[in-house]
Amino acid sequence: MLKTFPKGGIHPPENKITADKETVTLPIPKQVIIPVSQHIGAPAKVIVKKNDKVKTGQMIAQSNGFVSACIHSSVSGTVFKVDNIPDAGGYKRLAVVINVEGDEWLDNIDRSEDIIKEINSDKNEILKKIQDAGVVGLGGATFPTHVKLLPPKSMKPEVLIINGAECEPYLTADHRLMLEKSEELLIGIKILMKALSVNKAVIGIENNKSDAINKLETLSENYDNISVAALKTKYPQGGEKQLIKAVTGKEVPSGELPVKVGAVVQNVGTVFAVYEAVQKNKPLIDRIVTVTGKYLSNPGNFKVRIGTSVKELINTAGGLPENTGKIISGGPMMGRALITDNTGITKGTSGILILSEQESKRRSLKPCIRCAKCVEVCPMGLEPFFLMALSRKTLFEKTENEGIFDCIECGSCSYICPSDRPLLDFIRLSKKEVALIRKAKRIK
């Protein structure tokens, strides 16, 4: 029996056109733009200045607070400037621009392909190494990993769940990683199990990636307490709460952390980064990015240094097609539309998706016919039509009782609506407003 979450969900076309494309390492770019805020939490503090020489892997910005992450140079060269630079969304954010000269790595980084199975670090060393390497959640949320590995004292983690669902259409970066770095992933899981002191780990993979399921199932026989759970292909299977429900049968209570039910979830990309950080001393300076789209001539999976420009990456994939309407960082369901391709790949960029003008256009809004399809597909059991109605009438405070903060913004409601109503847009608006109201109340 395939596991899944019980309520809601949709089946968008999978469009995994790059599933069979082996990961290709992109040549080192001439310049990289590395923002100091690539994670959830406080931006890192820059510790280099203009004209400084940096090596590949060298820290250039230090974690600034508990929920924060270090940033490292992904190339060797000279710091060109430290300045506010428009990011993918058009907001100016502090970034370090480095002009590349050669590729000289820090000496303590092991660059060989050898697989190191022995885990010599103890629990604290592991956490320290993960923190120093600037590892964040690579599934897209970019929450600092070391924080997630230090749950509140009152809650005890029991099971580590590895998110290999990759439920977003188009994206195949995690899929390729599971196929190409299977052994490393399993070692990474062992490291995380040690860090969390749990003796059970489950890798959840949607059954549209049967090759990955088979490979990891076979290999995991050599590792104690690691198993693979085949999941039904249904969006949003990779949502943290949905995945926990599918694998353990437990529901994370509204407003609580997953560890409340004993579960800690890590994305497969993160697990690989943890392996590299702990076994190879390698900070998070590159990642696999799926570059895809129906009209791209050479879509594929690329191993890219953080800070490489999106434009360069798209050029490798065959260049921007004539009819481009949207460039999306991430997948079509939860990704962000970029305002320009002149921006850098960050730790959280799992894919670059090019949609044609035709695919980018939204259809015009029509009246709600109360078909209840949004209610049916909402994996959190909310009533999107009602939240939107309240939000439109600016009755934001009422949306709080209707569970607006439970919304995981998966977009299933907007996807399914036969009247093309922008349900999620209005839910987001209300979320923002309610957050402001809450804040104002606290200040009083």
């Binding site: 529901e251 209570p253 039509f385 907007s414």
Partner: protein
Amino acid sequence: MSKLIVSLSPHQFGSNSVKKLMFGVLIALLPTLFVSVWYFGLGAITIIVTSVLSAVFFEYVFNRFLLKKPSTISDGSAALTGLLLAFNLPSNLPVWLVIIGAFFAIVVAKISFGGIGNNIFNPALAGRVFLLISWPVQMTSWPEPSPLSKHLLGYTDVTTGATPLGILSEGLRSGESATKLISQVPDYLQLFMGNAGGSIGEVGAAAILIGLVYMLMKKIISWHIPVSILGTVAVFTGILWFANPDKFADPLFHLLSGGIMLGAVFMATDYVTSPMSKRGMLIYGVGIGLLTVVIRVWGAFPEGVSFAILIMNAFVPLINMYIKPKRFGKNKR
């Protein structure tokens, strides 16, 4: 590079549309359409064509010229209302009454409430009930069904008779036993196929069930409303029948006669006037089932589905307010 389009996620949408859903329901109604034309011939055709055309006409004229809004007839909802209204009328109803029914359904029950999505009551049923209480004689004269060839040209001058429910209701009132009365109506196979007196679209249970299966397969509706209505009717009439088979008809008779099938599958499942949550749908369905049986067994009218649905329509906002879907991670404490 030309300008990029920027918007919030999701960036991809399903191929669903109001039009697709409405036309899906229309397709699901085709078997019923066939049965009604088969048994009621030209009469059925006249009623259906008049009803659909006038519903679309009123929708277009009132939206376009009175409210000066863009026309909404292309979404198929007005045509669907017209067809459903026709299915709830006897086949010999004068054309002018059909037009009045369509006017009431579209203009009074739908557009005056704010158009598609805003009406509280099912427009087709509102139209039917308006006709029923205003012209009760014409609305309760039921032509005898006969296969197409026999009365293709017959319209008003066909023989009329009572519906199975009418026979039962009348007979019980004059003290006859239910078992005996049921032996006077067409047998269950005939009822199942549609060979019985009644509104043109309500007679063929088999055709309606084919439509139900189609709509379930296409995910146009979920099972909750039809199953809860039919289940409630079966259980409630079953209990009564078990208690006294002489006074009450058996569940199968109730399920196969009158408008319960059409009501449960096509009328009560109207999106706009039914609840949003699955649990709400079940409550709504059980309510319709109970009210239908109460009206049929103890009411003045032999048939009660239309009234039951309209009464429960009025409760839908209340149901929506108090019956919420089960939220993820929220356990009842």
